[in-house]
């Protein structure tokens, strides 16, 4: 089923995860500031236009805080046409958790943003991401990462672990 959906441009997480787009222990006071920070990493890396950050926040205002997909974890994005230049992902951990207004999964201390260039090429990477944030061990490592390097390592190392466990 998933094979059929793969577009020729599809990619895995490894291709878009870089040290430039992860930050450990970022200080913010509100969810808006968290969105700015996680979005800024993508702007600075040349992956999205500045307006993409505004669109991500607008999306949350419009449809509600369901983007807090799991306890403490928010997954932000807007549409491909909102200024995505290249497929991308950024991840920050927060020094102090902030409220997004979710009925159950607040407060949030892990904020992830992604940008997709179409409706399907990001699917393999999105699936990997979902497996990762659904894995308690990986989330524990991400939360305890004290530097950007450790944070990236927590993500990449766990990627290999996951593929290994799939081979077995």
């Amino acid at each position: 089923m998933i094979e059929n959906q793969k577009s020729p441009r599809s990619f895995f997480l490894k291709k878009i995860l870089t040290i430039e787009t992860v930050r450990a222990n970022v200080r913010v006071d509100t969810w808006q500031q968290a969105a700015d920070k996680v979005g800024c990493l993508l702007v600075e890396a040349g992956k999205v236009e500045t307006k993409y950050i505004r669109r991500m926040k607008q999306a949350l205002d419009e449809v509600g805080p369901y983007v807090v997909v799991a306890p403490g974890i928010a997954l932000l994005h807007a549409r491909p046409e909102d200024g995505v230049l290249q497929p991308c992902i950024s991840l920050i951990t927060l020094e102090n958790p902030v409220e997004f207004g979710h009925s159950e999964n607040d407060p949030v201390d892990i904020v992830i943003a992604f940008g997709a260039i179409d409706k399907d090429s990001h699917i393999p990477a999105l699936k990997q991401l979902a497996e990762k944030i659904g894995n308690e061990q990986i989330i524990k490592q991400i939360r305890s990462a004290t530097s950007d390097e450790f944070l990236l390592e927590a993500f990449i190392a766990s990627n290999q672990d996951l593929s290994k466990s799939k081979e077995n």
Binding site: G64, Y66, V69, E104
Partner: protein
């Protein structure tokens, strides 16, 4: 059977849910079509079951399909229990 997964834009959260549900259905040997929906276009469409994040409940007041609300969208165990329960209730 058609199972729709719902989110604001139709390719992030709803796509994640779709991928998890397809895995679960495959494991269970259940045949169903899983389609991601976005809030802008789901009205007027038909599905047997709509799966949505719990905080989207207010958007589903008028839905006539069986509605399944998920609290933790990356918890495969929760998704599995909820979706299988909904499928069984429709089979009755």
């Amino acid at each position: 059977m058609i199972i729709a997964t719902l989110c604001g834009m139709g390719f992030g959260t709803s796509m994640m849910l779709k991928l998890f549900i397809e895995d679960i259905l495959k494991d269970e040997g259940i045949k169903a079509k899983v389609v991601p929906w976005d809030l802008g276009s789901f009205k007027g469409q038909n599905a047997d079951i709509i799966v949505a994040p719990v905080d989207m409940k207010r958007h589903l007041k008028s839905a006539t399909s069986k509605v399944v609300l998920i609290h933790n969208l990356v918890d495969k165990a929760e998704i599995k229990t909820s979706i299988l329960e909904a499928i069984r209730s429709l089979e009755k």
